[in-house]
């Protein structure tokens, strides 16, 4: 006997007979069939191979020269000197020689590289005050507690810029000379425009000035412990590059993701001979003001000169990865074809 179901009461909660609620929406129902999957795999293998070849040719067009100068030549003397911490404030100038066999054609970019420096450590990354760097007066005199212990110096004055990131700023400087027929020619480097536009113009701003000089604006603050010069004197040649908007400071404050990194130092100025087409081949002398100590964390320092393409620098990983992926996909496609041919083609497995 079945129940009488004629009353409207028990049926009042029945879902509507609409397409949406009875799951009858118009739909497309794809399925993995042989004639979609196999051509797709072959096509992907082809795409990856073309991409790999193209990227490899692009990367081969870049040229890179690296030089590790931690203990190179005269700099080992500076290295030993910096082992003694009381010498930290004294500058040490050393010279290294660099040979370039093939000329670097096009725009040449100079980077300083550090190895084994973990800018991605969490406590290190937290130790900064973005509010202070964006120019807020309240944060200037009262740095955030995240900066501790680098927020105030021993006299109680607030440090500007506060935090461990700013404190550990890289302070080596380089001057390159090209040895042309015995007389060295200074290589002109553009040291502006090396930071992101958004960083330089929005994220880092000096506190409002209103007819005061930068030194007066920063009055009542102290320089970070490891610095030799206060923040408003970082660039003696260009007054608009001082304070929090100093390009080197901004580049350093953008923490690197990995312990071995390089940061932009300058771009070759190609206005005059003999640098109009890039860096000519030959012998170069680099005068380094060696200030940054790396022995405490077993780090290394290096100088990198490179040309770039739209793909950016000399990194062979992506082209090679695409080529490897393309061969793997091809292999898999062949395996799939064999499997389909032997088992699935007749559709015998599809019978119940």
């Amino acid at each position: 006997m079945g129940k009488v179901k004629g009353k409207p009461g028990p049926l009042a909660r029945r879902p509507d007979n609409s397409a949406f609620k009875q799951q009858r929406l118009p739909a497309w129902s794809p399925m993995l069939t042989a004639n979609t999957v196999l051509p797709f795999f072959y096509f992907m293998a082809l795409i990856c191979m073309l991409l790999g070849v193209w990227l490899l040719l692009t990367v081969q067009r870049t040229q890179e020269v690296k030089m590790d100068y931690t203990k190179a030549g005269e700099c080992s003397r500076c290295f030993e000197k910096l082992k003694n911490e009381s010498n930290a404030g004294q500058s040490c100038i050393c010279t290294v020689v660099l040979h370039i066999e093939k000329p670097l054609k096009g725009d040449v970019f100079f980077y300083y590289g550090l190895k084994n420096f973990h800018q991605n450590l969490r406590r290190y990354m937290d130790s900064r005050d973005d509010g202070q760097m964006v120019g807020r007066k309240t944060n200037l005199k009262n740095p955030s507690s995240y900066c501790m212990p680098f927020d105030r110096d021993q006299n109680g004055l607030p440090i500007a810029p506060c935090g461990a990131v700013a404190n550990s700023m890289f302070n080596d400087s380089f001057t390159l000379y090209y040895n042309k027929l015995g007389s060295p020619v200074k290589v002109p480097l553009l040291r502006r425009g090396i930071s992101w536009y958004t960083d330089k113009n929005v994220k880092y701003r000096n506190p409002k000035m209103d007819n005061l000089t930068l030194a007066q604006v920063f009055e009542g603050t102290a320089k970070p412990l490891f610095w030799q010069k206060p923040v408003y004197e970082l660039d003696p040649f260009d007054q608009t590059n001082n304070g929090f908007i100093n390009d080197d400071l901004i580049v350093w404050m953008r923490e690197a993701a990995f312990p071995n990194f390089k940061k932009l130092y300058g771009v070759l100025h190609r206005g005059d001979d003999p640098f109009t087409k890039g860096l000519p081949a030959g012998t170069y002398t680099i005068e380094i003001s060696y200030n940054f100590p790396v022995q405490h964390f077993q780090g290394r320092k290096e100088l990198v000169l490179t040309t770039l393409t739209w793909f950016g620098g000399q990194n062979h990983f992506l082209p090679i990865a695409y080529l490897v992926t393309s061969s793997l996909i091809l292999l898999v496609a062949i395996v799939l074809t064999v499997v389909w041919w032997k088992f699935g083609k007749t559709g015998m497995n599809m019978e119940e």
Binding site: K5, G6, Q23, L32, M350
Partner: protein
């Protein structure tokens, strides 16, 4: 939020075969009953898949970024750009995997998948905008990252490679299993593509219809389920042709999906005819 909504849509709206075929082949319900979808083997398979994907989604961006710069020489190997790259790769991989898993593409699914991708980019660009940084400085320190890294073709090529390496093995394994060891679901779906839909399931008729079965029901009673269940008609494999069809329906797939065809679940006279 970006990943939860598409999965929700998948679970609510997905069907591998439609309801007519499900009635036709009740064996489709047996994998669920045998707990084939959530066994230890399935769990281990899931874990291996996620371990492999996580390795790909970290190490491919790492290797691609660890010594690179932007095309104008400026930094791209910084912490914020790398985080954005890893997250974007993840989103793309998850949404592509979802698309693979969806057997029943409705407008709602499409909206959720594309909507979630669009929402991700919209929210990322908003969070990394100048305004948010200037108002909530310490909460949104990633200002400018999206603009400066996502315009590099390098970054998009890395995302494409990670997606390929995560998705293609899944497609290959599924294809091989389909050829060698198809499940009952696959077999029915294969039939769906090859054959026409079965006849609509029999309607439980209102009392006024002439019953062709030799049963003892009186005219005035409405028919219940008891007779159907005890006659074991649910277990039949062939379509029931013993009763004449009440409504003249066509066999085209589109007609089956039209809401006017009211399949009575109870014994009332159908008002919508």
């Amino acid at each position: 939020m970006y990943t939860a909504l598409p999965i929700l849509a998948l679970s609510l709206f997905d069907q591998d075969v439609n309801d007519r075929w499900s009635f036709q082949y009740p064996q489709l319900y047996s994998p669920g009953q045998l707990n084939l979808y959530f066994s230890k083997k399935a769990f281990v398979r899931c874990m291996l898949h996620s371990a492999y994907s996580s390795l790909i989604l970290f190490f491919i961006p790492w290797a691609a970024m660890h010594d690179t710069v932007r095309d104008d020489g400026k930094d791209i190997a910084d912490y914020q750009s790398f985080a954005l790259l890893a997250q974007t790769s993840l989103l793309v991989v998850v949404n592509t995997q979802l698309c693979l898993d969806t057997y029943y593409w409705t407008a709602v699914n499409q909206f959720f998948v594309w909507g979630s991708l669009a929402a991700y980019f919209a929210i990322t660009f908003t969070m990394y905008s100048n305004g948010m940084f200037l108002i909530f400085t310490s909460s949104f320190p990633f200002m400018g990252t999206a603009r400066n890294s996502l315009n590099q073709p390098n970054v998009w090529l890395t995302i494409f490679l990670s997606t390929l390496l995560c998705i293609l093995p899944v497609v290959a394994i599924r294809f091989i299993l389909l050829q060698i060891r198809p499940t009952i679901n696959d077999k029915v779906r294969h039939k769906v593509r090859k054959e026409a839909l079965p006849a609509p399931t029999p309607h439980r008729k209102p009392a006024r219809r002439i019953s062709t079965r030799k049963s003892g029901y009186a005219f005035s009673h409405s028919e219940g389920f008891g007779e159907l269940v005890t006659s074991r008609r649910f277990l039949l494999k062939r379509p029931l042709k013993s009763r004449p069809v009440l409504f003249a329906t066509t066999e085209s797939p589109l007609a089956q999906n039209q809401p006017q065809h009211y399949r009575t679940i109870t014994e009332e006279q159908d008002p919508s005819v």
